[in-house]
Symmetry: D3
Subunit: 269 residues, 6 copies
């Protein structure tokens, strides 16, 4: 017997959304998938809805008859204030309102390392450390973490805010040798967030079992997740391709990496 009758996956056409689709069928009988663009190759347990997170009424409809939400929708990189505002702030508010108005009790939210990007590798922060976003994108992630805290404290909706570091098929540069989160580890974490006996409001760090361990994830221990993958098999290839960075550069000493070095997205070029 599966844990859920129907769960909703937002951002289903995105890079990580496509990966998550592969495994969410193990926890729910039906997976409603949504994105603002068309999704292909539907599995039998999937039902697809194309809609825009920024449209409140559409999202209220989308979240009907759903038991839990995996919220991976929205812009997944730095953007202008207006773009981030609509997609990540208004869009996420709509998702949480959908959950509240439709009685959904648990959400797994794709937060990001960029919510804490200006902390350093040597700071070894944990989930209770103050936020230090490195971009408007990161600020929006902290907004949703804060909003979800309200929805927990006041409305009893559980959230796992999963701060994804670098989830790609393979580590692509030297930073990812420590920040990499394999697709399998990412999917496992989302599943554990759906299956854990108790989530409450939890902030967790999504990072595989790499050699360098820059953060302390122990406060998410009740989720029951253990990473299985490591970047070590990719080390030689990466080190041959990418020269070592200056350890004193902002990009090398911060968790957020080159996001910390980005200029302001609203500056005209």
């Amino acid at each position: 017997m599966k844990r859920y009758h129907r769960i909703l996956l937002t951002g289903a056409a995105g890079r990580l959304g496509r990966e998550l689709r592969k495994s969410l069928g193990t926890v729910a009988e039906t997976v409603r998938i949504t994105d603002c663009e068309a999704m292909e190759d539907l599995r039998p347990h999937e039902e697809a809805v194309v809609c825009d997170l920024g449209e409140r009424q559409a999202i209220l409809d989308l979240t009907r008859d759903v038991d839990a939400i995996v919220h991976f929708g929205g812009i997944a990189c730095e953007g202008t204030f207006d773009a981030i505002l609509r997609s990540n702030i208004i869009g996420s508010y709509n998702v949480y309102e959908g959950a509240r108005q439709n009685g959904i009790s648990r959400i797994v939210f794709a937060s990001s390392v960029h919510a804490i990007g200006f902390w350093g590798l040597e700071d070894h922060i944990d989930a209770d450390s103050p936020v230090r976003p490195d971009s408007l994108y990161g600020v929006a992630k902290t907004y949703v973490e804060s909003l979800s805290r309200l929805y927990w404290d006041k409305f009893g909706i559980e959230s796992l805010c999963l701060r994804i570091f670098s989830s790609f098929e393979e580590p692509a540069d030297r930073r990812m040798l420590w920040s990499w989160l394999s697709y399998d580890d990412c999917a496992d974490y989302v599943r554990q967030g759906l299956l854990a006996p108790r989530v409450g409001h939890t902030i967790a760090f999504g990072i595989s079992k790499n050699a360098v361990r820059p953060v302390d994830n122990s406060k998410a221990g009740h989720i029951g997740w253990t990473p299985r993958d490591s970047s070590e098999p990719y080390r030689r290839a990466v080190e041959n391709t990418c020269p070592p960075p200056d350890p004193n550069s902002v990009g090398a000493r911060t968790l957020g990496g080159w996001f910390c070095e980005l200029g302001h997205p609203d500056d005209t070029p």
Copy 2:
């Protein structure tokens, strides 16, 4: 010689804005005051500009030729998502962008106890404790605290985020016997934020020297502020008027008080 040539005060027609106008003349030669409604009784050192924080270009103009900003504008209580979004999120973004584009190096921002309203009196949190907003209003305050952290880490703009508890002429109920911030103490804190040798990014608690001390403000010690007023002279009058609350009620045990008991502002009545 005054410290600043010209500072900007937003929200100058509001309850606290009107109080601040009385003393800001001691730190700047000119105080530009702004609000979306007309401001009266201009002092010789004041120049008034009526404009809407939600209008980006207007705010970019408003912040020109200014050395520092006291940002008290925006909605000062719970409101619908759309209202808070425009006034407190977009509005504050515009203010910070004005600061960045016009080279302003310090901002005193009126944050609020409602950014941390779901913490309890017995938790004795400090400035590094995670946020726990009690309302959409409180979530917006955490958004600006997070945004200002980005503007500090990335663009070097200092912010004092002053979490005002209950700043009224007198304590009006039993909760304010501990949460009260007198007008004088509030104005002093803002002035110290403008005059302190170093602010960086500081989160501070604005609460007078009342008998009950529910939070730990020591991490703002470098601002150099000490409260002078106390609610004690008002105790007898308040206790005669207001019955003691149930200590186990949400309103009595949380920092946010009755905000924690408010329903959702977007629910139709």
Copy 3:
């Protein structure tokens, strides 16, 4: 209007009980006082009941029609296991059961520095530090602190566990120059415990405003108590009478002082 209709004071014939009787009339219309021996000079608002804390039914009767309890009864120094067991463990259990069965919602309990006596002056512990009792008497105090935590978490009865250091008319030796709690400060703390808007389960340190400050009482800040007295006026007299102790002796370096040097009370002489 007084806060309470009727409060109960146990240990009313003891040294501190006699002091508390002087001021409890300000917070309750009636003060029921009890001890195992006769109490004299009843004030008009006092009603006296002689009974033994070790008798469960008597205590259930004693606690009827009472709004709050100030529990200062029991042995006030080291004693044999059997004596402490009956007076301080069974007796306190009876008091808490009386509170629970009679719907009393707040208790101020006379805990003691001897619950934490083996910590040192240099450790600067706070209310969350683990207990380190220095005597069977101290162990019993930790028992009641733990019991009262259960009665809070499970039955919603608030307790202020006031760890009294050395409450005497005057500081009698060099240790009391730092550990002294004046009678007035002690009575104030008890009154604040009864009047505070919210107590929950609070552990507090009862020590006057002496020059040496060996513990951190900030986690009781929500009680709203500030000491007013200091041992300084007594310094000269004490230092003339008592030679300085060896700073490396157990008695001089621990909070519990000579209690830490006592042998076991069950050893036959």
Copy 4:
């Protein structure tokens, strides 16, 4: 050569006592086993003594010629105050007095998760967190932890207070999927407590290597224990049998589980 000449095991006829008997022969030449009821199938290195922990003189005799004590005796579930008092408080005092009077230098004591049962899974407490018992049984465990601290600080007797979570043959419900301590892991922990180079006064959490990790046991790292078993092989069977609990129920969010939901044992039915 074995480490100990003779150790004493109390509670030897209980569920865990019977398990421990299987392995204690590896650390001592003789294992004196005791319980208030008869023990069967004595191994060659075992000597059995039937006696009642509540009888002081009997326990003083029982602890003669012993090098170390494994104290697992007493009631192992919630009971009335009088029953717990005799069995767990007086009984444990007698055991510690036996140790002191007979020069025994180390004790492994079966404490319990119920000493901290009202903490939540998301609190991730460690050994220094304040106690929060969930039952009179749990309060008695905190009494012995406190008593053993006195016997360490004052009399130099080492104690490992092992807070056993759920030690059963198999995980029997969903809570045990995270709280389970296998019999082998339990026996290992006791053995390590006897063999560790230095115990001092240590509080440790007894929980197997399950997926969910709700507490931080690092402060017991000097004991040298590592769990080997996991509840994962039992997951499918348990999840098929037991429905998922409401994550917001007291039983699901606390470490103590359903003990937190028990009524008062002294209430007449």
Copy 5:
């Protein structure tokens, strides 16, 4: 009766040494004062010895028949490695060896803010924070703090390591508005270090009761010192003379101020 028969003051001809001479007569019958240059205007209770801290045998002789040492000798600003080595490292070692070989049980050592100079005003460090020296001078101060810890842990000699911030007659610049330690407050702290019931090994911050409070001195609360002076009366004069610094400069954001901006003393000009 005075506490000490004879105490030794090193560095007695230095700026602070001359100040201390004014008040040490209140705690000892005889004050032996020493420096490498002549000291003038001896008071009746003073005996002067000219000698070099770098000469071991001379210091062993100097420390004979002494009860306590106030060690303010050595170079009081940045210097070359060789100069600091001889004066502050070898010299202090000689003083501690003198104490050990002559059975002296307490030392007040003039440590410095420059032992922690690279921490920032916003870090609010306390006595347990790691050292971050800002100069070879500061490194030498940390050496003596570490050495004195050894002499406490191994040889039972108490030390108060007083990290003096800026002890001058008046605050001379804007940094001193927060870092100032008045001469009276400095002398009081030294006296309290000599008179405190228990010092053990204590690290304390010497800073007057100025408006800006950049560090947390609570871990020295057992010394019993409270500052009485404030820089406020000097504020106007200082602010009129000195322009405000750039808050983002190293000198303005660190505790050590311009020491953090000094080049290496061994660089040839």
Copy 6:
């Protein structure tokens, strides 16, 4: 391609230096090895220089054309003040000055458990805990840790201060069953210190994956080191040879072991 062109190894003729020589060739094309005595069996990538760390000019020359330093030179046990001063304090200063003047950006320094030897096994300190040296040798190690912090904060030279516990071929006594650092684990840690993307100023504990875990090394997680060896295979042999120590002895309860029990090295025999 190797990470470094040329690295320098000091103390190359010492016990650990000889071990390190076996593996440093994997990270640098040339390894310059140095000691005050002759080094034998040079590998093709090695170049040997005999010189004395106490000679400043020689060390300035020695550090020319080097990219990184592995500083294992100096006395490796307790010694007289004069010997330790020259070899470990002056010698290390010379090495750091060589690095600064020659533009070397990273150093791996052999610090020692004896920098923190007076902490106990039950204290579970981490890298930020204050130092508590157990010997003049340990004090010198804390000097270099402090000096290297200055060279990081002021001059941007990274240092990994590796506090080596007991690095020997095999665990030789019961203390080493927990303090052992295998030669391979030691060499790995040094290599990781050279290869890590970012070191900054890091203090790390060098201890293999033994059963007893007395310290918390998580703050060095960014170095990317994981121990592979364990003392378990040697347990039986050690326990058969060495009797168990008294757990209450200074040697058994401290991290520093018998160093804590050593007398003063300058005492004449």
